[in-house]
C-alpha cells in the first residue's frame, strides 16, 4: 500500500516537472508553472519518506533542515548579476549528492560491516548505473567548482592552456572509461571504483580550466546536463523512475541549451569547449 502511494506521488511529480518546464515557453505562465514543479518536488520527497527501507527519520530531517538553512539565503539574497556562478555553485551541491549516494551504495554492497556481496552477474547492470552516476557526478562537482571560481574571479577568468593538454585529457578520459569497463566486468573491484571517482574529479577540473570566463554560461549549462545524467543514473541504480525522468529532462535540456547558447554567440559548440586548443573535439563527441 505504502509502495503504491509512493509510486503515485512519483508519477504526479514527474508530470508536474514536465508541466513546469513546459510553462517556461510562455513568460506569463512561467511563474505558476515553476510553483507546480516545486510542488512536484515536495510530493516526491513525501513519497520517498514512505519508502519501506527507511527506518530512521532523525538524520533525514537533520539533513533537510541544514539544506534549507543553506539553500534559503543562497536563493533569496544572491544578487541577480551573480546568477551564473550561483547556478554553478548549486550544481556542485546537486552533483555532490549524486556522487555521495553512488559511493554509499557501493560501500554498502561490497565494503561495510555487512556487505550484501551480490554476485557479479546480478550486480553488473546496477554497477554500470552506479559507475555512470559517480563518473558524471564527480566531474560535475569539480567542473562546477571551477566554473564558479572563474565567474567569481578568484581563479583567473582567462583560458589556461599548456602543452600536451589534449593528450592528457584524452588519457584521463580513456582511463575513466577503462575503470568503468573494469567495474562492469568485475563489480566488486574497490580499486577500480575509487580510482574512477578520483579520475572523474580530475576530468571535471581539466574540462573547465581551458575555457574563458565569457564562455562559462555554456559550460554551466553543459554541467547541468551532466548533473541530470548523474541523477538519471542514480534512478537506474536504485530503481526509481522519478529520478530517471527528472534526470533525463535535465540532461536533454542542459545539452540543448548549451548548443543554442553557443549558436547565439555565433560559435559552434565544439569551438566553445575546445576553442582554446585550436584543434580537438574528438573527446567531446564521445563525452556527450
Amino acid at each position: 500500500m505504502q509502495e503504491t502511494i509512493a509510486q503515485l506521488t512519483y508519477l504526479v511529480a514527474s508530470v508536474l516537472f514536465i508541466l513546469g518546464l513546459r510553462s517556461l515557453t510562455k513568460p506569463d505562465e512561467a511563474r505558476r508553472g515553476m510553483q507546480l514543479a516545486a510542488l512536484g518536488m515536495l510530493l516526491a520527497i513525501i513519497g520517498t519518506m514512505l519508502h519501506q527501507e527507511i527506518l530512521t527519520y532523525t538524520w533525514i530531517v537533520t539533513g533537510l533542515i541544514v539544506g534549507t538553512l543553506i539553500g534559503y539565503p543562497l536563493g533569496k539574497f544572491v544578487p541577480m548579476t551573480a546568477m551564473p556562478q550561483r547556478i554553478a555553485f548549486s550544481h556542485m551541491f546537486g552533483a555532490l549528492a549524486a556522487t555521495l549516494v553512488g559511493i554509499g551504495e557501493f560501500y554498502h554492497m561490497y565494503q561495510g560491516d555487512h556487505p550484501t556481496n551480490p554476485s557479479a552477474a546480478e550486480s553488473r547492470f546496477k554497477m554500470a548505473a552506479i559507475g555512470f552516476e559517480v563518473l558524471f557526478g564527480a566531474l560535475t562537482v569539480s567542473g562546477s567548482f571551477m566554473a564558479f571560481g572563474k565567474l567569481q574571479e578568484f581563479i583567473t577568468g582567462r583560458p589556461v592552456t599548456f602543452k600536451g593538454q589534449n593528450l592528457l585529457n584524452g588519457l584521463l578520459f580513456l582511463s575513466a572509461v577503462g575503470c568503468l569497463g573494469w567495474l562492469i566486468y568485475e563489480p566488486s573491484n574497490v580499486i577500480a571504483f575509487y580510482s574512477m571517482v578520483a579520475i572523474a574529479f580530475a576530468i571535471g577540473f581539466m574540462l573547465v580550466i581551458p575555457i574563458g570566463g565569457a564562455d562559462m554560461p555554456v559550460v554551466v549549462s553543459l554541467l547541468n546536463s551532466y548533473a541530470g545524467l548523474a541523477a538519471s543514473a542514480t534512478g537506474f541504480a536504485i530503481g526509481n523512475n522519478v529520478l530517471i525522468i527528472a534526470g533525463a529532462l535535465d540532461g536533454a535540456s542542459g545539452f540543448i541549451l548549451s548548443i543554442i547558447m553557443s549558436k547565439a554567440m555565433n560559435r559552434s559548440f565544439g569551438n566553445v569547449l575546445f576553442g582554446a586548443f585550436g584543434s580537438g573535439g574528438g573527446v567531446s563527441s564521445k563525452k556527450t
Binding site: 516537472f17 514536465i18 518546464l21 517556461l24 515557453t25 510562455k26 506569463d28 512561467a30 511563474r31 515553476m34 510553483q35 514543479a37 516545486a38 518536488m41 516526491a44 520527497i45 520517498t48 527501507e53 527506518l55 530512521t56 538524520w59 539533513g63 533537510l64 539544506g67 534549507t68 543553506i70 539553500g71 534559503y72 543562497l74 536563493g75 546568477m83 550561483r86 547556478i87 550544481h91 551541491f93 546537486g94 552533483a95 555532490l96 549528492a97 554509499g104 551504495e105 560501500y107 561495510g112 554560461p217 547541468n224 541530470g228 541523477a231 534512478g235 537506474f236 530503481g239 530517471i244 525522468i245 527528472a246 534526470g247 529532462l249 536533454a252 535540456s253 542542459g254 543554442i260 547558447m261
Partner: protein, 106 residues
Amino acid sequence: MSATGFIQLYVFILAGFVGFLVISRVPPLLHTPLMAATNAISGISLVGSIVLAGGQYGKLPTILGVIAVACAMTNVVGGFIITDRMLNMFKRGDKKDAGPKRNEAA
C-alpha cells in the same frame, strides 16, 4: 540485462525526448530562468539521498547520505527560490501580448 532494466531505459529515452521537445520551444528571453529551473529539478537526487540516509546501511553510508540530503536540499530550496525570484522580475515587465491565446487551452 533484466526486463526492469529495459523498462528503465525506455523511460529514460522517452523522457529525454519530452525534454528535447519542450526545451527547444523556450524563447531565448527565458533561457536563464530555464537554467535555474532545471538546476532546481536536478536536486531530485534528494530522493536517492533520502533512501541512503534513512535505510540502515551502516555508519558510513548513513553519514554520506545525510551530507547528500543536505546538499541536495540546498540545491532544491535555493534553486526554486531563485527561479521564482527571476520569473517575478519578468512579470513586472508586463509582457501580456507575448502569450498567444490559442495555447491557453493546454
